[in-house]
Point group: C2
Chain length 270, copies 2
């Protein structure tokens, strides 16, 4: 495994490589990342994993500072997976580019997390654009837990580059909580509460299958969850998985949720 | 620069190397570390820097968790210095050794920080023993800021190994505060307060040169500092630099201080 600390290292390592699989991460790797990496190792000649906590996608500086970092452990995990390259860029490697990019979301995209985290997806698309330019991968592997991110990045990157976005299933812990680097910020009680909420919504989702007036049922469920678990909910909505429009039909739809437990923001979809 | 993530990598990298200079660190590198590294680069054929936040030398688990970590930036710094090897061991690489070590400080060594941080130096000597065995360096570079650590490690390591401990001058910031990875934990106000305390003690030290009854002057100074800067002082003592015994003579002596600003413990010597 080669560790690339800057773009000179990176260019040297990749210049004669083809069919590169790329797994972009912010580190603090969990089994979700590992599933992406294993898929890349299977489908690509060479796999590169980046670890970069992207300041531009945090709408809150405190959140950026508190975002978990554990590069040493991450390197150990990546080595054990036999990843070919790890790219550990500094902020300057990504953003000192001559070509400044200005991303603007369309009005109809300012929904779900885009509504609650101003500038977040603009930051994600910007960093993904720079990373894709620098690495020029054939495939980029991303998880479905961040579903809105996946769709937006897929749309933007596949429009502007030859790279294909490969989406990968959400990985859950034994309590059904979707794996996230942020889970480490939860206290033990809150972690088990988050698991209960996930189970609760998985059961709720199944019950929706033969119900009508879904909008109303979801609205009531939102209030129930708030009270039952004492959480702040940004949104709980049923949306079409192709265009993310609000829907009342179960077909091609997912329930999207974002909520806070003790200041830690968690998202998921079912 | 080669990054060694485990002992297999390490043994492979070092097996044919001689005159190895070793700089043990807990990361969050500052100009103090850099001065050690530069000295090693000058005096050794190959320089290896370890980054290992040693759990055994923290007498307080919260302190261990809060200890600043910034491996990515550290790697960038080490690369720019053209260090040959960086050793990033996991806890198991250090402590899975078959030969368990039991370090016991002598009663006369249980002074200064040894008195206030139970088990700290035992942990330091233990990790230094393992590291020295694993790396087998000709020279180990350590800073004088941690003077008691330097003396204890020197005594223990040079007794049991062929490696020589090379001591290096304390590096200070422009406010005269001794550089420490912990300084990053200080708020801006507290950082400037720590600088004032350092300057205060440097002036005090000079004034001691032609004074008598130093013990009493130091006792009074301790009380003055406590009140003036609103700090908790573990110790402020004049001790001989060879054997660390309390002394009343300025010759071959240093003033040793350990104090807390807002729960951050700082040490220094003059």
């Amino acid at each position: 495994m080669k560790i690339l600390l800057n773009n000179i290292d990176l260019n040297e390592a990749l210049f004669d490589k083809s069919n590169i699989g790329f797994v972009p991460t912010m580190g603090s790797l969990h089994d979700g990342h590992i599933s992406l990496i294993k898929k890349s190792l299977k489908l690509s000649n060479k796999t590169i994993v980046s670890i970069f906590v992207n300041p531009k996608q945090f709408n809150n500086n405190d959140d950026y500072k508190k975002y978990p970092r554990n590069v040493k452990k991450d390197l150990r995990v990546l080595k054990s997976l036999k990843v070919d390259f790890v790219y550990l860029p500094g902020v300057k490697d990504i953003y000192k580019s001559v070509n400044k990019i200005k991303i603007k979301l369309k009005k109809q995209d300012k929904i779900l997390c885009a509504q609650y985290r101003k500038g977040h997806f603009e930051g994600v698309i910007e960093v993904m654009t720079h990373l894709t330019k620098i690495i020029n991968p054939s495939k980029i592997f991303m998880g479905e837990k961040d579903f809105q991110q996946l769709l937006l990045v897929k749309r933007y990157i596949e429009k502007n580059f030859k790279s294909k976005i490969i989406s990968c299933k959400t990985i859950r812990d034994r309590n059904k909580l979707a794996l996230s680097s942020r889970n480490i910020l939860l206290k033990k009680n809150d972690l088990s509460k988050a698991g209960k909420i996930a189970k609760h919504l998985i059961i709720f989702k199944k019950r929706l299958l033969n119900k009508k007036n879904l909008k109303n049922l979801i609205f009531m469920k939102k209030n129930e969850l708030k009270k039952k678990y004492d959480i702040k909910i940004d949104y709980l909505e049923l949306r079409n998985t192709k265009n993310l429009r609000l829907t009342n039909k179960i077909k091609n739809a997912k329930i999207f949720v974002a909520y806070y437990i003790n200041k830690v923001r968690l998202i998921d979809n079912y």
